[in-house]
Subunit: 204 residues, 2 copies
Amino acid sequence: MLRTLTLTSKDNKKIQEERIREYFIQATKKIIKGEGLKTVNVRNIADEAGYSYATLYNYFKDIKELVFECVKDFQFECEETVNLETKNSRHGLSKIKNITISFMKYFVQYPGIFELFYLEKTSDLGHKHPTIKMIYSFLDQLTEEEWKYCIENKICNQTEAEQKKETLRNLTVGILLFYMNRHTPSSYKEFVAITDRQLNAALY
Amino acid sequence: MLRTLTLTSKDNKKIQEERIREYFIQATKKIIKGEGLKTVNVRNIADEAGYSYATLYNYFKDIKELVFECVKDFQFECEETVNLETKNSRHGLSKIKNITISFMKYFVQYPGIFELFYLEKTSDLGHKHPTIKMIYSFLDQLTEEEWKYCIENKICNQTEAEQKKETLRNLTVGILLFYMNRHTPSSYKEFVAITDRQLNAALY
DNA sequence: TTAATTATATTAACAATGTTAATATAATTA
DNA sequence: TAATTATATTAACATTGTTAATATAATTAA
C-alpha cells in the first residue's frame, strides 16, 4: 500500500514536472514563430511562460536544451502543413517535388524555425543527440512513401532513390541558406524560380 | 603650395588610418583561423592588435563590419590554395569537380571561415553589401575559366552550365552545413564519399 | 617655441544575456 | 503542528557589445 502511494506520488511529480516543461516549450515556440530566434532569451521565455527566469533552470539544463525541445513540435506542424498542401498531388517524382517545395516554403514562412533547425549551434547538445538525426532525415521522412512508390513502380531503383534523396537534402538547405541568411536571390519570385529549376534538374 | 600640403596631409591620414584598420583585420583573421568565430570578440581582437577595445570603434562601425572585412582576404587565400591543388587537373568537368572539392576542403580545415561566409548574421551590414554577393558567387569565380572551356569545347551549352553552376553553389553549402554544423555524417571519410557521389550526379 | 586645438586612445560605465547562489515560499511528511 | 523537502524568486556575477567621459598625443596657430 505504502509502496503504491510512493509510486503514484512519483508519477504525479513526473506529470507535473512535464506540464511545467511544456509551458516553457510552448512559450519558446511562440517566440520563435513570432519574433524569431534572435529574441529568444531566458527572460522573455520566462515572462511568456509566467515564471521567473531562474525557474527555467529547474527544468532544463540550459537554454539550448529548451530551444531544441521545440524541434519535434515544429516538425509535426510542418508535416501536417505539407500533407495538407500535397494531398492531391499525383504520386511519384512529381509529388516528391511538391512535398519538397512545401517543406521549403514552411521555413520561408518561419525564418526562426529555419535558424533553429540548421543554423543554431548545438553546443552542449551532444552531437549524437536524436534531435540532430531527426533534422537531418526530416525531408526523407516526408517523402518516404513516395520513394517507395517510385521504386515499386520502377520509376527509379533503390540506388538512384538514395542518391536523389541525398541531393534533395543538401540542395534544399543550400538554397534556403542563401535565400534566408544571405538574401540571395533578393526576391521571393526568383527564389521560387531557382527552386523549381534545381528540383527539376535533381529529380528528372 | 598650401593646397598640396593639405592634400598630402589628408593622404597620410588615410594611409595611417588604413594601416591601423589592417592591424585589427589581421588580428581578427588570426582568431577566426585559430580559435574560431566563437572566440572573436572586441576585447580579444584589441588585445591581439595591441589596442584597447574601444579604439576599434574609431575604425569600424561595429564588430560585424570588422569581421566581414576579413572575407576578401580569406577568399584570396582559398583561391590560392585551390589553384595550387588543382593546377595539374585536366580541363573540363573533371577540373570543375576538383576545384569544388578543394574549395570545400578549405572550409573543413577552417570551420570559423565557413561560419563567417555562410552562417554569421549580416545584421547592419546592408543586404546588398558587395561582400554578400562575393560570397554567393565565389565558387562560380573559382570555376569560371573551366566553364568557359566546357562551353567552347561543346561539353555543355551555356544554359546547362548556368544550371550546373547553380547546383554546385547550393549543393556544396548544403553538404558543408550538415557536416560542419550538424555533424552529419559523423566521419570525414563519409563526408568525402557523399561529396564525391553528389558532385558526380550534379556534373555528369 | 609655446599655447590652443584637434585627433586619437583609454578607462569607466551601461545594457543585454546566460547562469549560479542565496533566500524565500510552498508542499509534504513525520 | 513542526520539520523537512521541493520549488520559485531575487540578487549577484560573468561575458560581450557599445558609448561616454577622460586622458594623452599630435598638429596648428600665435
